[in-house]
């Protein structure tokens, strides 16, 4: 394969992976960090070694650009403070920002930051630093998928040391959510990240680790709850099998993202603990609505009715997960909870196919890739299941490298990838009429107008209802079939505690891990 293709697509793969990894909602359980053990003074086990997905030679230093690997996000989250954080229930939790209040128009937001945070060089973290950091993200829109697109940052301004005013382009009630996770605050004026830039986070990077790992030491001046571990080592390991093997041979204490087969094998091993984060990943079946036969709603419905979701879950994810109900962000707190589960109904599906004039079936090609575990076996099984309603589906397994350049948002029928991303992030990336990555060609103008209305609704409960209703409409009318959600699987050595249980961005904040538990 030509290197240019490989290069481009590698970038997009990582970018999308990041996108998926960025920001997310948590399941309805309290994060384990709240139950973390006190600092272990006696055991002398003050170090936690974490093997995270990522590439050691691609460890980036700029917190506002492309963060190619999960290990990069983890490192940034230890070094820098963010403004807000996704909480255990998916709500927005304060971090560096303690309050964010709108004016009556919902276009001007006063953001207050805590006054007791200091950078590692001793300077106080001020509102000017925060606004500078957001503007820097805005300038790097091409590298971070336009994360600040909803803000007019030139019109925003610093009010005083701990307050700044954020101006949004349209009324936008979810500013707290927009500031979640990636808003790493650096000192005003920082632009060269080739050298260490002072951070105000719970840990401080040292240069002790060399190229093998980054060694972090606890920042005892941090304003937040005292981290139990004195030292955290973050190591980027690209191969999931290698991460698991490193844990099993005692070379690390926590291995992020291990394959389900290996996880299954270790279920009875008392020396290690399997950590599951429900709903972390989904592989939506994309049906492009401007392409035959998916331009007919009846065909899309027939596909959703023909899927045997349990069988797919068992095959693709070895049962580690739950079946999907075609909701694109089922773990988002605004996701409607009271909808009836879609179940397999071949009779109705066949009737819909006949109504659509496809009683004799149709030839299709379903694209998939080996880049994500289980995605290709899911495609094979989907093709078998759809054969029962007359769809003759050929599975095309695409190279991981070219998947996101040749398939993603380009082919009419394929398996896509989403990982713990909140609803509004999916909207920004894939559901606005003019987005280049509008993979299902979702062009419903009324829906977009209703979305603007929902975001202009100041009442939380009402807005949640409106957003939920939008997701329900998307589920019924749109071009996605979401058949199952898979757990994120981590392996930890026995006794490790404090691993965050949230998915998406929440999982990157490991400052409360402890190996003493």
């Amino acid at each position: 394969m030509h290197s240019q293709l490989r290069r481009r697509s590698a970038a997009v793969v990582t970018a999308v992976a990041l996108l998926a990894g960025c920001s997310g909602t948590a399941p309805g359980t309290a994060p384990a960090s709240t139950a973390a053990q006190p600092t272990g003074t006696g055991s002398g086990m003050g170090t936690v070694r974490y093997a995270a997905p990522g590439s050691p030679s691609n460890a980036v230093t700029d917190p506002h650009g492309l963060l190619p690997g999960e290990s990069d996000v983890v490192r940034m989250a230890l070094t820098y403070d963010v403004l807000t954080l996704p909480g255990a229930d998916g709500s927005t939790q304060p971090r560096l920002a303690t309050a964010w209040r709108p004016d009556a128009t919902l276009t001007k937001w006063r953001v207050t930051i805590r006054g007791d945070a200091t950078f590692s060089d001793g300077r106080q973290v001020k509102a000017a630093d925060a606004l500078f950091s957001l503007r820097r993200m805005g300038k790097k829109a091409a590298e971070n998928f336009g994360r600040m697109a909803m803000f007019d940052l030139d019109a925003s301004e610093v009010i005083d040391d701990t307050t700044f005013e954020l101006v949004t382009r349209k009324p936008y009630a979810e500013v707290g959510k927009a500031l979640e996770g990636a808003t790493f605050v650096v000192p005003e004026g920082s632009d060269d990240f080739g050298k260490p830039v002072p951070g105000s986070g719970p840990f401080r990077p040292t240069n002790k680790g060399g190229a093998q790992a980054v060694v972090y030491e606890r920042n005892d001046d941090w304003w937040g709850p005292k981290p139990p571990a004195r030292t955290i080592e973050v190591r980027a390991v690209p191969d999931p099998q290698a991460r698991a093997q490193a844990l099993l041979s005692g070379q690390v204490d926590l291995a992020g993202g291990v394959p389900a087969t290996l996880a299954k094998q270790q279920e009875d091993n008392s020396a290690v603990r399997l950590l599951r984060r429900p709903g972390a990943t989904l592989y939506p079946l994309v049906m492009r609505m401007d392409t035959k036969p998916f331009d007919d709603l009846r065909v899309r419905e027939a596909v959703r009715l023909a899927l045997d979701r349990q069988q797919l879950l068992d095959t693709a994810f070895l049962g580690y997960g739950e079946i999907g109900n075609d909701l694109i962000t089922p773990k988002d707190p605004t996701s409607p909870a009271n909808l009836a589960q879609t179940t397999r109904d071949l009779a109705r599906a066949k009737k819909l196919m006949a109504d659509a004039g496809l009683a004799d079936g149709v030839e299709l090609t379903l694209h998939t890739t080996t880049a994500y575990p289980g995605m290709d076996s899911a495609a094979t099984l989907i093709s078998q299941q759809l054969a029962e309603i007359g769809m003759r589906v050929k599975v095309a397994v695409e190279p991981a490298d070219t998947y996101f350049s040749a398939v993603y948002a380009r082919k009419p029928f394929y398996l896509s990838y989403l990982g713990g991303i909140p609803f509004l992030d999916v909207v920004r990336v894939a559901l606005t009429p003019d987005s280049p990555t509008n993979e299902t060609a979702w062009q419903d103008r009324t829906w977009s107008a209703d979305l603007d209305k929902a975001l202009a609704e100041p009442d939380d409960a009402k807005r949640r209802g409106l957003l939920g209703e939008l997701q329900a409409r998307l589920r019924d009318q749109g071009g996605y079939a979401i058949w199952a959600l898979s757990d994120r699987l981590d392996l930890a050595k026995a006794g490790l505690s404090g691993v965050p249980e949230g998915i998406g961005f929440a999982s990157a904040f490991i400052d409360q891990v402890s190996s003493d538990g």
């Binding site: 394969m1 290197s3 191969d239 099998q241 389900a260 087969t261 397994v397």
Partner: protein, 297 residues
Amino acid sequence: MKRANGSLLKRSGDAADRSVPARSAEPDGSPSARRRSPAMLVFGGLSGVVLLVALGGEVVAGHDPAAIVAAPWAEVASGLPFGADALGRDVLARVLAGGRDLTLTSLAAALTASALGVAGGLWVGWSRGRLGRAVAGASDLLLALPLLLLALLAVVALPGPAAVIAGTVLGGTPLTLRVVADATAAARQAGYVEAALSRGETGGAVLLREVLPAHAGLVCADLGQRMVLAVQLAAALNVLGFGPAPPAPDWAAMLRENLQGLGLNPAATIAPAVALAVLAGSVAALSHCLVARDGLS
């Protein structure tokens, strides 16, 4: 990268000592050395089989080597003689189909490097003089460069197979050239060449009709060495992820894909490793036997 050929060291010392072309007289005079040894038949057969499997295996594989047919790392079972790999794909089907591109690339690389080297060697050896020494000096320099490094640089600009060919030509051609040039220079003094020249044949005709056939064994043995080099280069690049894109099966890529699962299904790693080892090893052994037979070493 390694280049299995003694010439770098030996020929710097006494390259031109051997004035007798291999096939015109036996150095040790023993007629038994001329016979095809059983070892040669064995390795020749083995090379043939592995080439056949590599090139035609996909046909007998039975089903798509990218298809998921079992649970990940499924162990050896009936219908799955080598079990399944990390994604639950049939290892046997992948081994049968996974040698073609690598072998074709290596063959193309070896033939290119060898052809260029033979042509250049005949020319340089025949014309001798300053040019020959200059070429020999330049090829000495190339020999010292780590080949894999060159191939890695090439892969920035070229697709994997082209980088393998470029690397093999850069690293292999100089060796072939020196070997053939030495033999040609020696042959020029030999009686049969002088006889042909005195019959009024042109230099080119003598080279093609007399000198080249007289050194066929040498050229074949040398081609084998280039093939081994090309296989090593191709395997290294494919292991590093610059080969055919997944899910296309490839012996070398399979090694990397399945190495960490050795504890789960050893066959997934061992089968492609054996295939690669047999390919490189039998060709090397065949070449070695040719060299031994003709007393070239």
